[in-house]
Symmetry: C2
Subunit: 285 residues, 2 copies
């Protein structure tokens, strides 16, 4: 595995790989890798001749007051995990390299970025879209792999790729969960053991919703009730949003039909967690 | 010359050209070509193995109430002129192909887009940046040639290219003028003969400013006075802005030093015209 520090170096490598007629996969991350990231890496390794991972804690996707300064990091561990998972290029650019003085370009997707996580994080998705576009231009991947955990992010990036006529294929991998159901997240490390136990209600609420849909429930109101009741049982959990929407467009639905995303965000203590399920709701049970 | 109607077709051609190891130049236009455009095309033809021109009246760079619906067009003439100037690929996508249903991505450069032309055209540069980025992604040019006539646009596009790590080289060609000094513009066709005569004061005012700088004048206030006096002599001319700024960053200057852009916009009758000069002001006369 080759460590790559600068944008210029990464560009040269990517151009060389393409010049050799090889395909290149990219897994953009903010580091502090866990099994979720590894599933993305393994997917890229399986799909492409070469795989690059980027590790960059992107300041532009944090809003003021968030955990940018204390975002967990373990460079050596990330590097070893990436290498063992078959990564060829470990790209870890610096903030000044990515955002030099005078930098000002922002990529906005206003229709999708204001709802859900955008309510409490109003500039988050423009930060994500901008950095992902930069990474795509630097690495020119044939395939980029993201996690379904960040459901809204996946939809935003797919839309950006279509809108801007990019050639990269966006591949979305399922959420990887701890044995007890908690969705893997670098931020889980913030949780006390008590909060960790409370946080299980996120997944429990979504599973209860899924069961209701499988039993024929199609009314958004009723599903929202089921979820909020489960979350309300935990005192340490403050619900931020629960949304039932079209999985492709994020348009909210009154009644469930087609490929439906049920997504939620909640604070467990001071830690903000998100989780979601995608359910295909037929017209009849 | 090959006419190219769809994005997919243009992408295939561009990938083929690059696959053959040839360089590709792009001249993005809104059509109704004149000598100014031809100078850009000739430059691209001289620099690159193959040259594409895009002809697309981009609705996103017009603000409401502007001349989108009556923007001058002459498809046959554009095609013949492009062919005669040595263009290989004449790309004329449709609005629905460029902006399909659900399209929402916007490229913003807030620091540079609100001043000058952005004052009266607040969403103009996001429309320009977005369509130019799309064209770059579709055509993947090695070089793209723009005109100094649209001075602010040139700076915005260069900044976007740097910020987004694009590989295209931006080449800016000097303003092409009518024999009497009027900067060439597709919009000159709107002018009555009386307005056409009045419009000459734009260039005259800039030349007078240039002469003053060459004679040692370095104070922005004084140069602005010189220009506004010339423009005020013409009753049909309503000044929109006169700006003296750093040619690279568009930062306004109190005193002239280095590479200075003097740019103005004015309405002549109902027609909005822009013009500019770049002057290198030494520290002493």
């Amino acid at each position: 595995m080759e460590p790559v520090k600068t944008i210029d170096e990464m560009k040269k490598i990517a151009r060389r790989v393409h010049g050799e007629g090889k395909t290149l996969g990219l897994v953009p991350t903010m580091g502090f890798l866990h099994e979720g990231h590894l599933s993305l890496i393994r997917r890229a390794v399986a799909l492409c001749d070469c795989t690059a991972i980027s590790v960059f804690v992107n300041p532009k996707q944090f809003v003021s007051g968030e955990d940018l300064d204390k975002y967990p990091a373990d460079f050596e561990r990330d590097r070893d995990m990436a290498r063992d998972a078959g990564v060829d290029f470990f790209f870890f650019p610096g903030v000044r390299d990515m955002y030099p003085e005078g930098f000002q370009t922002e990529v906005h997707l206003p229709g999708m970025s204001k709802r859900m996580c955008g309510l409490s994080r109003p500039t988050h998705f423009q930060g994500v879209a901008t950095v992902v576009l930069k990474l795509f231009n630097i690495v020119r991947p044939d395939v980029a792999v993201f996690g379904q955990k960040d459901a809204q992010q996946s939809v935003v990036i797919k839309r950006m790729v279509r809108d801007l006529d990019l050639d990269v294929k966006i591949d979305i991998m399922p959420i990887v969960r701890e044995p007890d159901g908690l969705a893997m997240s670098s931020r889980n490390t913030y949780l006390s053991s008590e909060e960790r136990a409370s946080a299980l209600c996120l997944y429990r609420s979504l599973e209860k919703a899924r069961a209701a849909v499988e039993q024929g429930q199609r009314f958004t109101e009723n599903i929202l009730d089921i979820i909020s009741h489960v979350l309300a049982e935990e005192q340490k959990v403050q619900t931020e949003y629960i949304v039932i929407c079209d999985a492709g467009t994020l348009e909210e639905l009154d009644a469930l039909h087609g490929r439906v995303l049920i997504a939620l965000a909640a604070r467990v203590g001071k830690t903000r967690l998100i989780d979601n399920v995608i359910i295909t709701a037929g017209n009849d049970k």
